[in-house]
Symmetry: C2
């Protein structure tokens, strides 16, 4: 892996764990194992590296969503796959929150020009979920349902981060899986919440 990629990788992680503003160039350089001076050969400003981090997140999200689409032919299973994230990543979420929601909010408070770019990750999830609901036959309200599932993930992430309560996460995941089943009665009970 080239130095530039290592920098983006370390910055990605540190921006998530410490926040964008709280992460210094020195911390990133140290994490990669290069000098601060070398840093500036790859990135001129802090905004440049933020942009690179956001692009990396957009790319990895696109890839993940494409993989999920390939994992199952059933859109309902795919939506459940999304819901699963809050369980799979509960450790990181308890410590740092959702990487998407926390970054977009920080950039909103900073009135940072890259805010809209960061919201793009949300837009990928939203559009992907919307497609799943459209395939499930919820044509007019597909986007509404997509936003509801997204809201679930953000509510769970914020409270899980505040209260450090894994059981709460499980209960909410179970609840929305049930909601999903009731909402789409065209599917059999075998697809129900687990």
């Amino acid at each position: 892996m080239g130095t530039r990629e290592q920098i983006v990788d370390a910055a990605n992680r540190l921006f998530y764990q410490q926040g964008f503003e709280a992460t210094s160039f020195a911390a990133i350089a140290e994490a990669v194992g290069i000098s601060r001076g070398n840093f500036y050969y790859h990135f001129k400003t802090k905004d440049e590296i933020l942009q690179a981090v956001i692009e990396a997140r957009l790319a990895s999200t696109r890839q993940m969503l494409a993989e999920w689409a390939g994992d199952s032919a059933d859109p309902l299973v795919r939506v459940r796959r999304f819901i699963e994230i809050v369980i799979t990543n509960r450790g990181d979420i308890e410590r740092y929150g959702c990487p998407v929601g926390t970054l977009t909010n920080e950039l909103a408070k900073l009135d940072h020009p890259a805010r809209a770019h960061a919201v793009g990750v949300f837009e990928l999830f939203r559009a992907w979920l919307c497609e799943q609901f459209e395939e499930l036959g919820a044509d007019t309200q597909a986007d509404d349902l997509a936003m509801h599932v997204l809201a679930f993930s953000q509510g769970v992430a914020t409270l899980s981060n505040a209260f450090h309560d894994s059981d709460f996460v499980s209960r909410e995941a179970y609840r929305i899986n049930t909601w999903l089943t009731e909402r789409l009665p065209s599917h059999t009970a075998a697809d129900g919440a687990r």
Copy 2:
């Protein structure tokens, strides 16, 4: 209003709008109209003023919840009063997010000792909502329902902040009000979602 109170008031607002770390002493001093030097007569460190801000938020939250409790004898109406916040404060939420969720997450990322103190505001809402659900007869799962309503508020706040979509907020508020009615069928349809 004394100088100290003015400082806490300005810091409270700026911490919300810009974030804790991004807010400098100079900005607070300027907002109040005093010099930076005078500032240190009232607060020795930034952590001291953070503590004062959190205490102010705890106090104002307690007062607000007490007022809500006095507004109606029906616990269901009181819960709906909580849900209304996301509508009433939608302008600020779109710009800055939820003051409670965004601060607790920022302090989590900073690994700041005051994090637990800030979570106290969430605990006030949680306990208050829990009481309402207990009065509604949901004894064993009252806290679960309280957390679900809290999660609603955080999910809506984060996405409203990202997408700047007021209609989404209204739809989600309507949705959880409906959920509330269906969840507690002991009440008449006249209490239903509006």
